[in-house]
Symmetry: C2
Subunit: 403 residues, 2 copies
């Protein structure tokens, strides 16, 4: 007998049929004697509908009330799942944020879970009940409803796994795991059976939408093994856990890409201490997120070139901020918004020499020009011409035997 968290995402609860299907998955698990805490998202589309209403009312909709509004979505799906369980003979109860309670700290719309009371729910579990908890929400010390950011149901699941000290945390979603690349775009992409937290984080930050990054971070911090699996198939999912538990047979776990980048190069920047800070200060103040930054040492010790990438949407504002920046000077500004970022991710990379070289060589074989490079311990990213994106992804997939 194990104690488990089972988290169901919005698409897994997207219709009455799907809710009944999820209830049957829960029943099957319970039949094996497990104690179950079920965490649910709002039904698919519901959160967007509510946000749509709030946006039509005000572009700056009151943040406290936005949390009250959005929390109604998970409240409804909790009741529906719990009602469905009762209907098929499973003792079950929904427990809302204030009924548990789930205490949070921080701002409205972006709070974080700090604690929750476990006694009542543990009692209920030991009496054979299934506790259903709405994800994404909690209450503040002053008793207001708070939310923990979009996709926050994953974070709720992980926090519950930690605080209730469960044996596992299962994330039921509409894909059957984490893939080596986007399976919709790269037909040869393969499901990854095991992946480390770090790799998962790199893949998430590169656009894999399977799990919310901050939830993976929390799981990593407290070493909570995750299991991402499909609500709609019986196949094994992807286990996300500590690197040490992974026996690496592959150096590279996945290939990710993003197509909404723009690259800016500042030519002839004065090479002196503090110049990078001067360049990025106005961007940071204007909430422009800078992704890759590449700066070479200068040949003459006086001038250097600096390249960085940003989201394509921010390009005009970024160029204008740089032009109006009186703290720094450069001879020329080049902007290229027809670029994409290709990354290979793998925790085994650090112990395997030549991975970076192998990546560059295989891109060269396809005559794909590399415009910028950035590396971390478990990731190598390159910026290339946007037109070559899928070609590069497929080639790297093959190079690192991910097919």
């Amino acid at each position: 007998m194990a104690k488990k968290v089972m988290k169901f995402g919005g698409t897994s609860l997207g219709s009455v049929e799907r809710i009944l299907h999820a209830a049957n998955i829960i029943k099957k698990e319970q039949g094996q004697g497990h104690q179950l805490i079920v965490v649910v998202s709002a039904m698919a589309g519901k959160t967007n509908e509510l946000i749509g209403h709030s946006n039509l009312i005000s572009k700056k909709f009151n943040k406290r009330e936005l949390d009250v509004l959005l929390a109604s979505g998970e409240q409804a799906s909790s009741a529906l799942i719990s009602g469905a369980l009762n209907d098929i003979g499973i003792k079950s109860k929904s427990w809302l944020n204030w009924q548990i309670p789930i205490l949070t700290e921080g701002e409205h719309n972006n709070a974080r879970i700090v604690n929750m009371n476990v006694n009542d729910i543990n009692n209920y579990l030991s009496q054979g009940g299934v506790a259903v908890i709405p994800g994404f929400q909690g209450i503040s010390k002053s008793g207001d409803i708070t939310s923990i950011g979009r996709g926050g149901s994953d974070a709720t699941a992980v926090a519950i796994a930690k605080i209730f000290n469960t044996d596992s945390c299962e994330i039921y979603t509409d894909v059957d795991g984490v893939y080596s690349s986007d399976p919709n775009k790269v037909p040869v992409a393969k499901k990854i059976n095991k992946i480390s937290y770090e790799e998962m984080l790199e893949l998430s930050s590169l656009g894999a939408k399977v799990m919310q990054s901050s939830a993976v971070q929390t799981a990593m911090m407290y070493d909570i093994p995750l299991n991402v699996k499909s609500t709609f198939t019986n196949r094994d999912g992807t286990k996300i856990f500590n690197q040490e538990n992974i026996d690496y047979t592959k150096t590279v776990t996945g290939v990710a890409y993003s197509k909404d980048d723009a690259k800016i190069t500042l030519i002839g920047v004065e090479d002196k201490p503090g110049v990078a800070a001067d360049i990025f200060e106005p961007l940071s103040k204007n909430q422009i997120n800078v992704d890759m930054v590449i700066q070479n040492i200068s040949a003459d010790g006086k001038e250097t070139d600096l390249t960085f990438t940003i989201k394509r949407n921010d390009k005009e504002q970024a160029v204008s901020l740089i032009k109006n920046n009186t703290k720094m000077k450069c001879k020329n500004i080049q902007m290229d918004d027809k670029v994409s970022k290709i990354s290979i991710v793998g925790a085994g990379m650090v112990a395997t020499p030549g991975v970076t070289y192998k990546m560059f060589r295989s891109l060269a074989e396809e005559k794909i020009n590399i415009l910028a490079i950035s590396t971390s311990e478990i990731k190598v990213s390159v910026i290339i011409n946007e037109n070559n994106t899928m070609e590069a992804v497929r080639k790297l997939h093959k190079t690192f035997n991910l097919d």
Copy 2:
């Protein structure tokens, strides 16, 4: 400066535009220096949508979870109204059932409000804030969400008016008041400016859907004046209050009708004590609501005929229950499901002789046959052939100068 309850029904909040419109009505009231507690229903259609989901999951959806589910509707509309108020510069906060709290007693889906904490909200009002409260819901002593039955937002409004001792209770709805008959069907129907609780109750029970009956009853019990008005026009609405405050110029206030009745007559029932109880016991046990009951004294002291009306939907079950009832005997059962009930209502009736006669005479003038009669202090109802319904309503409207 007055303290007011303003209650907005579902159609008044049926879209973002209507929510903004309601917010502006509230702003206008606040601009006159009033302290305001706003009570809201779920957006039009929302409760039906949620009930639809629950019905698809189970015909006997868990009652506790149904309350959790439905409460999400008013929670969302509270947040939307409060957000809209903040957007137009009005300090406002939503207060959910558990945040106030609103304590209820009784069963899930059918609880009643017994108390609520007034201190926090009164403080907030005195600081110029508008409190927005979801109608229809409360919490039980054990901390579960409860609901107070369909249309329960009216009951919440009246309970708040009572417990907060407000100066008035305004019910904003999609009609501009209570009419002498259904204005959609009887074009000459006129809006009633003043009506007593009792008359309103009779009209409600006869199908006028303007306000929920139990809310009117509570208002009557505590003598809370109500004002029903349209969200969409500026016209005066209908004031509902104590009979003593009404200067009756008319004997009859309104004419109501219902078309979904069936009439059952038991011929040759043994005339002995307890026979009526024996007849109605199985109907009551099967939740069949008996409306009018007419029994004459028997000519010979041995046998009598007994007529009663029920909802048309229940007719087959009722006839079958009577046939299988071993406790009573009758010679014959007649059933007529092509009947309708016409009622005249008026608190002035009791002091005006001849009203009943006048009603019967005017129906006779139209050659409308009366199949059964039932009277109370402020109401006379007759059962007639369904085909004559509108003819009768129009005639009575004219007879009692309601046009």
